[in-house]
Symmetry: C2
């Protein structure tokens, strides 16, 4: 069988372990010497494919590739860019085929969330519909944990560990301070409350912080929230709140609607915590503090979950193995075998079953009053944060790798403009 080249791209928001997946992809692909020629990566994801901006990963040393396993972010650059339907924007697909042809790309490994799996699925059809033979495999990645079929998504376990740890630490701080009564921590999760739920792991008893979790799945009932905060301060001397950035009013409007939209058409959020703090201050007069964790939560590789790192790597490895088996339009997934002891294995899902689906936090994972997680949720979440995998430190700081990112010489004359 003739050797063909592999193209790997990272898409959407990055995570603490996205590069661990890249490490799995590249190390595994390097092992298929007789089947895979060059291993290219798109600079800034699919945008790099369209603009023929390719990185030759073969120019990176084995040590640099190994170091990806402990380096956060997206080493090749990521972008939020969703391909339209084949019929809506055929030009983009024709361009992709032209770039793939020019660089003899036979394998396309696309690492992202549900929007990206939609793109991967569309690309997987170009063989049949446009006559260009390419094996397309998706690889799951998202801190939001909202991908369908897979039991959990690489990236989520580490943010969950970080949020649970930070909630526990900040709560100890609040408890130490006589005057501060309310602490609000704003966490990510546009439409699904998985990350907010992870905050619930910080404690075990009802009196343990966090005392209130505000999920995107449960519309904010201001009166009931105020009553609960008051009850907590009176009972436990303070109230620790974990609030999802995706929290909505009963009207469906985001509590922190800033009116801005990203390239996927999603409203860009940030600012739930100050809004809640204002309401609580106004209604109850308590002294408060709040934190907006933002990028810190998804880049905190210094506190990654070992389970998450292992799964991220395994997904990357499985994607290449699947491509070598000629499986097109699939995505490796994590299958849970048992909760306690936690056991998992690699499974396979059809991309068509994953694309554009959004797995919200099930109602049975949210307590009846809507302010906390249930035992079932805890059983699901706990295994995902197990184990530490500290990066190497140098002079007091985590030692992360920066790749050389040597570009592949362009072969196409015509440039292609991408509106991203």
């Amino acid at each position: 069988m003739a050797k063909r080249n592999l193209f790997y791209a990272q898409s959407g928001g990055v995570t603490a372990v996205l590069n661990a997946t890249a490490c799995g992809v590249i190390q595994t692909a390097r092992g298929y010497k007789d089947r895979i020629g060059k291993i290219y990566a798109g600079h800034q994801g699919i945008v790099g494919a369209l603009t023929e901006d390719l990185i030759d990963t073969g120019k990176e040393s084995a040590a640099a590739i190994a170091a990806l396993r402990h380096t956060p972010g997206g080493a090749f650059g990521s972008a939020r860019y969703k391909l339209k339907g084949l019929d809506e924007n055929k030009l983009e697909y024709e361009r992709l085929i032209r770039v793939f042809e020019a660089h003899d790309i036979g394998y396309f490994v696309y690492n992202g969330g549900n929007d990206s799996m939609d793109t991967a699925w569309k690309v997987s059809q170009i063989g049949e519909r446009m006559g260009y033979p390419v094996t397309c495999v998706g690889v799951p990645k998202t801190v939001d944990n909202d991908l369908a079929v897979t039991d959990n998504c690489p990236g989520f376990g580490s943010v969950a560990k970080y949020i649970a740890t930070s909630t526990r630490e900040a709560a100890i701080d609040v408890l130490s301070m006589k005057q501060t009564k309310v602490f609000i921590m704003e966490v990510m999760g546009r439409h699904a409350g998985w990350i907010a739920a992870a905050g619930g792991l910080a404690g075990r008893k009802r009196s343990d912080p966090p005392h209130v979790i505000l999920f995107p799945e449960i519309p904010l009932d201001e009166v009931r929230m105020i009553a609960r905060v008051k009850e907590c301060v009176e009972r436990y001397d303070n109230c620790v709140i974990v609030a999802s950035e995706g929290l909505k009013w009963p009207s469906g409007q985001f509590v922190s609607d800033a009116g801005k939209k990203d390239a996927f058409g999603h409203v860009q959020l940030g600012g739930v915590a100050p809004v809640l703090a204002n309401i609580i201050q106004h209604r109850l007069g308590y002294k408060y503090h709040y934190a907006v964790v933002d990028y810190l939560q998804r880049s905190a590789r210094h506190l990654a979950s070992k389970t998450d790192v292992d799964q991220a790597y395994a997904m990357g490895k499985a994607a290449v193995d699947l491509a070598m088996e000629g499986r097109n339009a699939v995505m490796p997934v994590v299958e849970r075998v048992s909760d306690k002891p936690y056991r998992w294995r690699v499974g396979v899902a059809e991309l068509s079953k994953v694309a554009n689906k959004e797995k919200k936090l099930p109602r049975k994972y949210i307590s009846r009053d809507g302010f906390h997680i249930t035992e079932a949720c805890r059983r699901y979440l706990e295994p995902l944060i197990q184990g530490e995998d500290f990066p190497p430190f140098h002079e007091g700081l985590p030692n992360y790798v920066h790749l050389k990112k040597v570009r592949v010489r362009k072969r196409l004359r015509k440039p292609f403009k991408v509106d991203a």
Copy 2:
């Protein structure tokens, strides 16, 4: 010599290593079996002394006290409460003496920042001025690193390590994302830019993030800041900003003045990042993200600096040793012997030289353009973040101790009301 009891109290904002100092105090005091009877701690600091709300640390196991070394926050509770002058509020001092007498307290170890060292200094005078014999020793603590005489303050090294690490991690995230151009991280530091300066350790070259540091010591020049942000985005594709909560306009007004004041009369801050983001968005139109780290930075024991933990413990130990030598009105300090290799030793300062002083970031530590740190600053800061001292983990989360906090039976009939 007759045995007398020791009273220890934590004051002001807590840190990741304040309890390591408590561990040093209690373990050392337990070693002076022939000189020290009971070891009490104030519940909520000096407020506990005034209200006779004392914790008997003798009821805590050796293992629990040892675990304080890796537990963040203030295990006995802290408060922002500053005693007035002896002449202004003699009642409080008389009350203190009554409580000390009732519990035969001969040693007072007070652990806090510059406001607290003022209180410690005042209490150290009651022997001479009010006839109650007590040996009073201060112990330095503050994330702000603004105490006089001591080379650095326990608590600062860990927040510095956390901020430098988080800046490095978030910057990798920003660099990965094609669309995000500006990232702003708001850090603590009411009047001194030490914590903001620590963000500068994340990179080394001019092109490395953070690209801009905004210090409380340098009034915000909006026009120059906008020009610098634009230059960074054009040159490096993005601009990472570390901004101190204490940033001021040239008028002297805080950029994020919320108009609220704490018990020390300081304006309560929080909100520089959104204000800056708004200005940048309005003037340059870049897509931004921001984080407000708040309590997370000072409670992140999971990423403590080993140097800091060691010094925090050593200060607690030294305080008790000084009390045993009969040294009144002093505070142990960190003396730097050399930068590279870093060597330090325990010194002693007079409380009168520490009380109410505020050590700002010297101008020579800030680059000429006002937007970064100098090599001299780097030489000063680097040793303080060296070494890791991870806490034990249990089921994926740091395993912190919660003390029993058994109260000492009250001996005074009259309650005392504290307005805190």
